[in-house]
Symmetry: C2
């Protein structure tokens, strides 16, 4: 694995081509991550199900805003999606100027922070959605998914995009680190 450390100057054109490839892959992964976080936020944000007779005295309408963890999920996915859109110009700049150093460092640190944010959001939402599906006998929390069938399906589905974005952000950090190491 250490063979790449010798003769770096003689392989400059090849290295540059690979760096450009890495930068293009970075851009593609970023676009996919934008789509998946945006889809997650929209899918969760637009979920609602009205149950006319859930309790005898109120009309029950289930929305994401009823559960704080799902609200956090929508907000966090929107933030990550906005950040990823803002990072696209920088990613395009890296294709043109593949030796950039400080801008890649900036991307790595923000990508890591956004990785933490999107992971926190998807895992808090997962904990709550899991509870909605299964309930918890010891804590006496009942599963609410028998009543709220389509609500539970939509919320479960919208987790997928967020977990996808998590994996993509780990890959993006790896790509940026590889680009830094290749210089």
């Amino acid at each position: 694995m250490d063979s790449g450390e010798q003769g770096e100057t003689s392989k400059a054109p090849l290295n540059k081509g690979v760096s450009r490839g890495v930068s293009i892959l970075d851009l593609i992964l970023r676009v996919i991550a934008v789509i998946s976080t945006l889809a997650s936020a929209i899918a969760m944000g637009t979920t609602n199900e009205t149950l006319p007779l859930f309790t005898p005295f109120i009309q029950f309408k289930a929305r994401y805003s009823d559960l704080p963890a799902l609200t956090f999920f929508v907000v966090a996915n929107s933030i990550v999606s906005a950040y990823l859109i803002l990072s696209l110009p920088l990613s395009i700049a890296h294709i043109i100027r593949s030796g950039a150093k400080y801008s890649r460092l900036v991307l790595i640190i923000f990508d890591a922070a956004m990785l933490a944010l999107v992971t926190a959001a998807s895992s808090a939402a997962t904990a709550i959605v899991y509870l909605a599906h299964k309930g918890n006998v010891r804590a006496n929390w009942l599963a609410i998914c028998q009543q709220l069938d389509s609500f539970c399906e939509r919320t479960s589905g919208s987790l997928v995009g967020s977990f996808g974005a998590m994996v993509l952000l780990i890959l993006l950090i790896l790509l940026s680190a590889m680009a830094l190491a290749r210089r």
Copy 2:
């Protein structure tokens, strides 16, 4: 900000000193992260509270294993802690050989994965502990912390170490990336 890109060869001794400083800081942060994840896992894992008459027919004993999210918290913090201990020799090697490239790349990708793991664990546990404290009126989940006072305090407290480790791992990724960029 781009001024560092010129005259890199002439500043080699200074750069090496800074790189060594970065590597030492990396080691210190790793040790702190080991302690905080280990403390979190132990604090959560040893929590239990017995309520003799919570319900009239069973003796209620609250443990972390009653809630899947808290079990995940203990497991994930143990894994991250074990990984961080295993990464210490590599971190020490970086102090001696500050120009290392591939081993830093390996550390960055594993640090990013462990960041995702510890964030997922702490945020899922936070969602459940928050629910235990506040309950949720819409889903008809009652707050269980009135009865389980010391259980709730211990579990809330053990979240701190995990969130600390999250911040430390973001800093570790930044330090590794900086070391790669400085080479």
